[in-house]
C-alpha cells in the first residue's frame, strides 16, 4: 500500500490525533507564532492560566485556546477578560482532546488593551476606595412613582424604555434628563445630568443608553460618572448597552440591568408583584374575616351547648341526690318496725290471754278441790255420828229387859204390874202373860205353894 493509500485508509482517533501532532510539529511557523486578540473566558488554575483569544468586538467569532504557565505570567500586565493582548508561543495539538492550542511563552497588552488596562487601574482604585461595596448600595424603591431617566433623547433604547413603562404603568411618572452619552467629555455631561436628576425629587434614577462600541460606551467607565452616581441621594439603576459587559457605572449603581427591557422589568417589579399580591391578600383578608366569624360562631355554639350540658348535668346530679335520699329514707321506712311492734303486741296479747286463762283455771281447780273435799268431810262426819249411834243402839239392846222372854221366860202382869209372887194373886184374877213374841190373857184358877214356902 502506497503512502497515499495509507492516508486514505480509515484510522483510529488516537492515530489521527498523533498524525495531527506530528503535522503541527513539522511546520516551523507554528513553533513561534504571535496572535493578537482580546482575552476571554480566563480560567486561572494552580500552576497555569487557561484562556481564549478572540478578535476585538467580535461576537460569536473564532476563538483560540491558550495556555500560559504560571511562571510566565508578566508582572506589569494584569490579565483579565476583555484585555487586548499579543501572545507569542507554540501551537501544539493537545493529544487527549485532539484540539490545538497556543502554549504562550510571552504575553503583552496592546492598543485597546492599554485602554482596558487604564480601566482596570481605575476600577482597582475605586474599588479600594469602597465605591463598589455592597454595603453602600441602596435598595431600589419597590413602588417608584417618579422616575428620572438620564440618557440621550435620541437614543433608541430610551424610547423603548419610556414607551414600555407608559404602556404598562401609566401611574409611573417619567422625566427625561437629556445628556450626551458619547464622545469627548461626555462623562462630565452625564455626571451633571445625574446631579440634576438627583435634585428633581425623583424616587429612582435610571441611567442608560443603547448599545455601542467599547469606545462609545467608555464614558460610563469614567470616574466622573462613577462619582456622580455615588454622590446621588436617589437610588440609581443602570442599563448600559445590550451586552453583559460591566461598566464602572454599573458597579457603582445600586443595581444594573443588562438591557433596557430588563430595566423596565426592574422598575416595575414591585408594581407587578403588588398587582399579583393584592388579589391574594384580598382573598386572604376575606378568608381571615370569615374564619374569625366562623370561630366566633363556633365559640358561641360551643358555649351554648356547654351551658345547656352543664345545667342538664347539674339537674341530673341533684336528681341523683334526691333519689339517693329517697332510697335511704325508704330503707328506714318505720313500717318494718311497726310490723315488728305489731308482732310483739300480738305475742304479748296471747301471753296475757294465756295468763288470764291460767289464772281462772287455777282458781277453778282450787275451788273444785274444796268443792269435792267438803261433801267428803261432811259424809265422814255423818258416818262417824252413825257409828256412834249404832254402838249405842247395840249397847241398849244388850241390856233389853225383854231379852229373857226370848229364852222362854214370860212376864205375868196384873193391872200392868209384873207379878213377882203367886201370893200376889187370887183365883179369878185376870192377868196378861207376855212372851217373847206376843201376849195372852188368862184367868187365875188356882194358887200353888212352893214347898218350903211360908
Amino acid at each position: 500500500m502506497s503512502e497515499d493509500e495509507k492516508l486514505r485508509a480509515p484510522m483510529t482517533v488516537a492515530e489521527f490525533s498523533q498524525r495531527m501532532s506530528d503535522l503541527f510539529a513539522r511546520v516551523p511557523r507554528f513553533r513561534d507564532i504571535a496572535v493578537s486578540g482580546e482575552i476571554t473566558g480566563m480560567r486561572p488554575s494552580s500552576n497555569a492560566i487557561y484562556f481564549d483569544l478572540k478578535d476585538q468586538g467580535a461576537q460569536g467569532g473564532p476563538v483560540l485556546s491558550c495556555f500560559l504557565r504560571a511562571d510566565r505570567v508578566p508582572n506589569d500586565v494584569k490579565l483579565a477578560d476583555g484585555l487586548a493582548v499579543v501572545a507569542r508561543g507554540e501551537i501544539i495539538n493537545y493529544g487527549p482532546r485532539s484540539r490545538y492550542s497556543l502554549t504562550v511563552r510571552e504575553i503583552a497588552a496592546t492598543g485597546l488593551g492599554l485602554l482596558f488596562l487604564e480601566f482596570q487601574a481605575l476600577k482597582d482604585r475605586l474599588q479600594r476606595e469602597g465605591l463598589f461595596n455592597d454595603d453602600r448600595k441602596r435598595a431600589l424603591p419597590r413602588f417608584p412613582r417618579k422616575v428620572a431617566v438620564v440618557s440621550t433623547r435620541e437614543g433608541k433604547g430610551v424610547e423603548d424604555f419610556v414607551r414600555e413603562i407608559e404602556k404598562r404603568a401609566s401611574f409611573v411618572h417619567l422625566r427625561l434628563f437629556d445628556t450626551r452619552v458619547q464622545g469627548i467629555g461626555a462623562e462630565r455631561d452625564i455626571a451633571a445630568a445625574i446631579e440634576r436628576a438627583d435634585r428633581s425629587g425623583a424616587e429612582l434614577i435610571v441611567l442608560g443608553r443603547g448599545g455601542g462600541s467599547y469606545e462609545d460606551l467608555f464614558p460610563f467607565n469614567r470616574e466622573e460618572v462613577v462619582r456622580a452616581i455615588v454622590a446621588a441621594q436617589t437610588p440609581v439603576l443602570t442599563a448600559i448597552g445590550h451586552s453583559a459587559d460591566i461598566h464602572l457605572a454599573d458597579l457603582a449603581a445600586d443595581e444594573h440591568a443588562n438591557t433596557p427591557s430588563l430595566a423596565v422589568e426592574r422598575v416595575l417589579a414591585g408594581w407587578i408583584k403588588a398587582a399579583e399580591w393584592l388579589p391574594k391578600m384580598s382573598e386572604r383578608l376575606g378568608y381571615a374575616a370569615q374564619r374569625r366569624l366562623d370561630r366566633a360562631t363556633h365559640d358561641v355554639e360551643m358555649r351554648s351547648r356547654a351551658v345547656d350540658a352543664a345545667m342538664v348535668a347539674r339537674f341530673a346530679t341533684l336528681q341523683t341526690k334526691i333519689v339517693q335520699r329517697e332510697r335511704a329514707l325508704a330503707a328506714l321506712d318505720p313500717r318494718a318496725r311497726l310490723a315488728a311492734r305489731a308482732a310483739a303486741i300480738a305475742t304479748k296479747s296471747e301471753q296475757l290471754q294465756a295468763s288470764a286463762v291460767a289464772l281462772l283455771r287455777r282458781a277453778r281447780t282450787q275451788l273444785e278441790v274444796r268443792g269435792e273435799r267438803l261433801p267428803e268431810r261432811v259424809a265422814g262426819l255423818a258416818l262417824r255420828k252413825r257409828s256412834l249411834l249404832d254402838l249405842r243402839s247395840a249397847a241398849l239392846r244388850g241390856v233389853d229387859p225383854h231379852a229373857p222372854l226370848e229364852r222362854g221366860y214370860a212376864i205375868v202382869l196384873r193391872d200392868g204390874i209384873a207379878v213377882r209372887s203367886a201370893q200376889q194373886l187370887q183365883v179369878g184374877d185376870e192377868v196378861r202373860a207376855r212372851f217373847g213374841r206376843g201376849a195372852a190373857r188368862a184367868r187365875i184358877e188356882r194358887i200353888e205353894r212352893e214347898e218350903g214356902e211360908v
Binding site: 261432811v378 259424809a379 249405842r392 229387859p401 209384873a418
Partner: protein, 67 residues
Amino acid sequence: MSEPGEAFEQKLARIDAIVKELANEQTTLDRGVALFQEGRTLITACEALLKGAQEQVEAATKSASKA
C-alpha cells in the same frame, strides 16, 4: 228424859247413861223397861236427827248445785 231440841251428842250421852243403869242389877224391871223405852226413844230421835242432818246436807248440796 231428853228434850226434843237436845242435840244429837247429848242424846247419845243419855243413852250411854241408860245403858249403864240398865246394866245395874238393882234396877227393877219396871224401871228397866222404862229406861229401855227411853233408850229406844232416844235412839229413834237420834236416827231422826241424823236423817235430818243428812237431808240438810243433801238440801245444801242440791241448792248449791242448782245455784
